[in-house]
């Protein structure tokens, strides 16, 4: 009995009970394009599975309770100290449960990798234009997953109730409390009374282990089903068109590669967790609102938010005797709200600017969409400046700088550097386009110098392959929209201002170095 034969029997068994043969055959032969950047989303997915597995393991010992206990475990420095059951059980997992510390570290590292993979995947999708029609809905789901991931991660590292995470909750409470009119009510509802209370840990626990993972599962399922149904995008190149998908069939190549990659991600996460300590909560001590440790830092995906809060100007206004804390509302709610809404709406904004309502399955090379790429670079720069300020205390101590200088540097930098990044990136993209044009027209520099009979030195250029020439010229260069703001008699039309803005943005978006056409090549050859 060969393996093939037995698997054949399984297929037979399944079909006789479901009649799914045609459907299964079609989907097992489904083609997936291959590119390293398509693995980023996979890393996120596999980290999520690792999080589910390791998280479930931790729940067997973790006690999500703020009940006061006296520590009597094996970690001597905290012997006899009053602490919450949540903190004590986390110590128990770390010191008494064999493999517990490893699983805690796998869980925490996997969370960091999960968020990093989501962000990297988001950048890949953004810079290659994969969010364009018909994938706008999947982009929005992705932004939803990113947002939930940030919340889920924050709740997760808040659960152990150590001094560091308790401080994080305190800050979250202050943000809730700062919401105009209803803030203190929302805070009292969330915490079951005054901060910290005893209700919060069990409440965020159920959100962390049931509510949000459930939402994740649902959204990830839809996200993947849409990728499946709409078929994956592919990079441009010879033989690849808007009408086809070039790649490997699901069975067996893609299955083996993707399945193998899951084990690689799990293995690497386990390796990091084995050798690199993370969140050593026993060093921080139990949470008490009267204490704090210097160098308090959130996890990296919250760092930008903390950095924005740190650099906010100290402004609070009073309005008929009521307080509005701009120093908290602007960096804590308004700016993140604008950023995430803008990100979610970007596919629609771009299609409004370009007037492009067609389907796109071939990805853009980032240089061929200079405006979009520059916008992405600008957003990343904004986040990095904010993130740097989120670690300003550590930077100050490690590099012997003054914290005030870093703060002022980032306060100015947050306004100056992102636009600068936009301009530089756009210029770079256009230069790269020019380089592509040169390459197609004049070929590759070989580095071989020739001396002509006249004594002149020239470098020998070698024509590039037709495949490469096609890749460098296959992109589309759509012209800018031409929108009239006046009618034939010179009277301003309704919506003239909107049209003017749209035209200007469209012109900026369409800016490009003309790509090489066959005429250009013929002209060169005739010389």
């Amino acid at each position: 009995m060969t393996t093939e034969h037995r698997l054949g029997q399984v297929a037979n068994y399944v079909d006789e009970r479901t009649g799914a043969a045609a459907w299964m055959k079609k989907n097992l032969q489904k083609v997936f394009p291959d590119h390293w950047s398509f693995l980023l989303g996979e890393v996120a997915l596999y980290s999520f599975i690792i999080l589910l597995l390791s998280g479930t393991y931790l729940t067997f010992w973790f006690d999500p309770s703020a009940r006061e206990v006296i520590y009597e475990g094996s970690y001597e420095p905290l012997e006899g100290v009053q602490m919450s059951a949540a903190y004590a059980s986390t110590l128990h997992i770390s010191f008494e449960v064999r493999g517990g510390l490893l699983m805690r570290q796998i869980h925490h590292w996997a969370a960091l990798i999960f968020m990093a993979a989501i962000v990297a995947h988001l950048m890949r999708v953004f810079f290659t234009g994969a969010f364009r029609k018909p994938r706008e809905a999947n982009w929005i789901i992705g932004i939803g997953l990113l947002t939930l991931g940030i919340v889920e991660g924050f709740l997760g590292y808040s659960l152990p109730d150590d001094l560091l995470s308790g401080t994080g909750i305190r800050i979250a409470e202050a943000i809730i409390q700062a919401i105009p009119v209803v803030g203190s009510y929302l805070s009292y509802f969330a915490f079951g009374g005054a901060f910290p209370g005893e209700a919060f840990i069990p409440r965020i626990y159920i959100v962390h282990v049931l509510l949000l993972p459930g939402a994740f599962l649902a959204l990830i399922t839809v996200h993947l089903m849409m990728v499946w149904y709409q078929k994956h995008t592919q990079y441009p190149g010879p033989g690849r068109t808007e009408k086809n998908v070039v790649g490997y069939p699901l069975m067996p190549v893609y299955m083996a590669k993707a399945g193998g990659f899951f084990f690689i991600v799990f293995g690497v996460t386990a390796f990091i967790a084995a050798v690199a300590s993370i969140n050593p909560i026993w060093l921080y001590g139990p949470y008490t609102p009267g204490q704090i440790s210097a160098g308090s830092q959130p996890d990296w995906y919250m760092g930008w938010l903390d950095g924005l809060v740190r650099m906010a100007p100290p402004i609070e206004t009073y309005f008929f005797g009521y307080t509005i804390s701009w120093n908290i509302l602007i960096p804590g709610l308004i700016v993140p709200g604008i950023l995430f809404t803008g990100m979610a709406l970007y596919p629609f904004i771009e299609s409004w600017i370009t007037g492009d309502k067609r389907e796109h399955h071939l990805l853009d090379r980032p240089r061929n969409a200079p405006n979009r790429t520059a916008l992405g670079a600008m957003s990343i720069t904004f986040m990095i400046v904010a993130l740097i300020n989120g670690g300003n205390d550590l930077i100050a101590t490690h590099f012997d700088l003054s914290i005030n200088q870093i703060m002022w540097g980032t306060r100015v930098g947050i306004f100056v550097l992102p636009p600068l990044a936009f301009v530089i990136t756009k210029r770079l993209c256009l230069s790269l386009q020019r380089a592509d044009r040169e390459l197609v027209l004049h070929g590759r520099e070989t580095g071989r110098l020739l001396r002509l009979p006249s004594g002149e030195f020239v470098e020998v250029h070698e024509p590039i392959s037709p495949e490469k020439a096609y890749l460098l010229t296959s992109h589309e260069q759509a012209p800018a929209l031409e929108l009239a703001t006046e009618d034939a008699r010179g009277v301003k039309r309704a919506g003239a201002i909107r049209n003017k803005i749209r035209s200007r943005m469209s012109v900026a978006h369409a800016e490009a170095v003309p790509k090489v056409s066959t005429e250009d090549l013929k002209e060169i050859e005739s010389h």
Binding site: R170, S187, A194, A294, P314, E316, M407, T518
Partner: protein, 330 residues
């Protein structure tokens, strides 16, 4: 523009290049052995993990760069990492060397349906909508909207008992007229002479049951006591009268986001909040001199009783901690 110029022609998929293992049985055999070797390494990783499970947790091994490591933890983790990683490596090597590597082409169809289908679809939707008469029967439409809206909003009521209303809870602390300042930890009353010039101490209000202080109370009551030379203050007469022999008391809860303002720099007499670096000048009643905090730390009016122990002369005159909508309203 792009439509006018003639683009360079698509030369089509490049010809497939066969791998060595595709036609050379020796190479194929070698690849098979490599895959098997990786699966064997994975199995060895599992053996390492099982063995490490039984290492007592007080055995340490020296690892270059990392220093002394707990052998039990390290062995468990490395064993697990090796066992998982090499399953993955084996599978991928298998796929890359032995499974077919010829790319295949699948066709993609535009999602937009043929116009006839689309028209039928739109007509069906329209007919269905017309059949309900929603467009004409506005009474039904409006009452349905109201009913659904109400039924969605009203369950919010059920969340009412998540917590009590704040009322004036955020504005009160345990400090009252005559409350003794006691050390934290220790719960001992403090005389002015217990605190040297330049010293700083965390204090709490004296409690009947110091063993079981509630975190909720500490979150509002924590006070920082700092002693300067009286001539170092730069205060108005009223604020100066709230100090005692150079001892000044502030709420330790940051007026920005409620962290404990724990870092005191003796030379500059600045208090720094480690969360967001708001900096307060002790000599000027904790005036904000840097960072995002908008208000000084509330100052506690202190004096001494007949025996010389520090007591609060009054409660805090303003709510402590972060701002909220009704902070200064009555």
């Amino acid at each position: 523009m792009s439509n006018e110029i003639e683009a360079i022609k698509d030369p089509g998929l490049p010809a497939h290049v066969h791998r060595k293992a595709d036609h050379d049985p020796v190479a194929a055999r070698r690849a098979e052995r490599q895959v098997a070797a990786m699966f064997m390494i994975s199995a060895l990783g599992t053996v390492l993990m099982i063995a490490s499970f039984f290492i007592p947790d007080d055995v340490f091994v020296f690892v270059p760069v990392m220093g002394d490591q707990n052998a039990h933890q390290l062995g468990l983790g490395l064993g697990m990492a090796i066992s998982l990683f090499f399953i993955g490596m084996g599978a991928i090597h298998w796929a890359k060397t032995l499974m077919p590597d010829q790319e295949v082409i699948a066709h993609r169809h535009e999602f937009r349906s043929p116009d006839s289908d689309r028209k039928e679809f739109v007509d069906t939707v329209k007919e269905g909508a017309a059949a309900t008469g929603l467009g004409r029967r506005s009474l039904i439409k409006r009452t349905l909207g109201a009913a659904v809206g109400l039924s969605a909003i009203s369950p919010l009521l059920l969340f009412r008992d998540l917590g009590p209303l704040p009322e004036d809870d955020l504005k009160k602390t345990s400090w009252k007229k005559g409350t003794y300042l006691v050390t934290d930890p220790g719960d001992r009353r403090i005389r002015a002479s217990d605190l040297e010039v330049g010293a700083v101490a965390q204090v709490l209000p004296e409690s009947d049951d110091p063993e079981h202080r509630k975190l909720n109370d500490i979150a509002k009551d924590a006070v920082l006591l700092i002693r300067l030379r009286p001539d170092e203050f730069n205060l108005d007469a009223e604020r100066l009268s709230w100090t005692h022999e150079g001892i000044i008391a502030f709420s330790k809860i940051c007026s920005h986001m409620g962290c404990a303002v724990a870092l005191y720099e003796q030379t500059t007499k600045h208090l720094l909040c480690p969360c967001h670096q708001s900096t307060f000048d002790v000599t000027r009643a904790a005036k904000v001199i840097f960072g995002p905090a908008a208000r000084p730390l509330p100052q506690l009016n202190i004096t001494v009783d007949a025996e010389g122990y520090l007591v609060a002369r009054d409660p805090f005159y303003e709510p402590i901690g972060p701002s909220f909508w009704g902070r200064i309203s009555s």
